[in-house]
Symmetry: C2
DNA sequence: CCACAACGTTGCCTAGTGTGCAAAGTTTCC
DNA sequence: GGAAACTTTGCACACTAGGCAACGTTGTGG
């Protein structure tokens, strides 16, 4: 997790993180709409132009944490043993997401609040999941070719996409439900329940 | 389908449609990035300001057709008999989507194919589906209370969300696969296959 | 240690966007 | 026919994304 590369790399990572934290902080305080890119850059002590070198817009900066969590998930997925089926590998990797969330970072909580309250962010979050889905599909297809290879490539493509979409829908459902009622249910349990619901025969 | 209301309403609908068609046409010709809102408004013979009265941005205008199709789907779903289970009602409503596409001009569909390859649009489509998902969840919850009412509201919430997400993931998968290979497979068959894949036990 | 290459940061600039406002044009309704 | 309700439009303004080139900082080979 800590490649500890060159000074250059570390500085870049620090700037990226500073920008991310700046936008979360400002958005939590004033609402995302009232936050300008200028203000974010100021708050992170870089120029307006530098912000654009790191993120395309403030939503992307805001969801940077989300993105890294999904990247961790993908890495975990790729590290699963080759002999696991796609669904096995997925369900056994999802713990990574939960753990990442379980580091009850106050920044993360503030971020979730903002994301939930601001509808335009939901769109960007979906956009993010869209790219994740593409990568999931690729990984799933590879695994399928080792396990359930069928003679029909179209059927395989459908299967891989349905699988990826269902998995993401289930985790999304779990997180939504978990956020919507801040009682003592553990996120791990909710995610688990959602994945089992998805895996069972529907209806 | 034709409420045939006042002149005012009809004019507004015409303008909205003109803007939608303008953006599709221009995007198919030059690529979405090379299309400005100004150009779209010009092409539809309205001012740039008027464009903003109808759509927030060009992507929204481009996906207007998609949105109306989903609205038809929701209407069809609500019209299903009350005694059908959620999944039954969903799978029996989905024909509406396919029919709506089938009504379209083949030239139009070719344009859609071109435009839809643009990756940034996938994100906006996801955002659209996000709002649809909300409504699906509401409808599914109502049906579940008539059929599979459980004592655990959290489990019900999870189930409804997983169901909605899976359904949308399956139709999305079908449409993606269908678009990606412009052979003679009928969309109806692909959608059917995807929904059956989703309904079967995963793994 | 130094010079040079590679890379990051910044300011400037331009085309484009989204939206409030008020004036002018339409449609509706009595 | 004329007032009320609504739509379109132009204008203004603050903001955004990204190309470009100058300037700093970091890495590297002699």
């Amino acid at each position: 997790m800590e490649p500890a590369t060159s000074l250059r790399e570390r500085k870049k990572a620090a700037t990226r993180l500073a920008l991310h934290r700046a936008v979360v902080e400002l958005a939590a305080a004033k609402g995302l709409d009232a936050v300008t890119v200028d203000a974010v850059a100021d708050h992170a002590n870089v120029s307006r132009r530098t912000f654009s070198n790191y993120f395309a817009n403030k939503e992307e900066a805001l969801l940077y944490g989300e993105r890294t969590r999904y990247e961790r998930l993908l890495a975990a997925l790729r590290a699963r043993p080759e002999n696991e089926t796609p669904w096995q590998a997925l369900t056994r990797s999802v713990g990574i997401l939960v753990e990442a969330l379980a580091e009850l970072d106050p920044v993360w909580i503030a971020q979730l609040r903002v994301v939930r309250r601001h509808p335009s962010l939901a769109a960007h979050q979906m956009a993010l999941q869209c790219t994740v889905e593409q990568e999931l599909v690729g990984e799933i297809l590879e695994r399928m070719q080792r396990h359930q290879a069928s003679s029909d490539p179209v059927a395989d493509a459908i299967r891989a996409r349905v699988l990826a979409g269902t998995f993401l829908a289930a985790t999304r459902a779990a997180i939504t439900v978990w956020i919507n009622q801040q009682e003592s249910l553990s996120l791990a349990d909710v995610v688990d329940a959602a994945l089992r619901t998805a895996a069972e025969r529907l209806r």
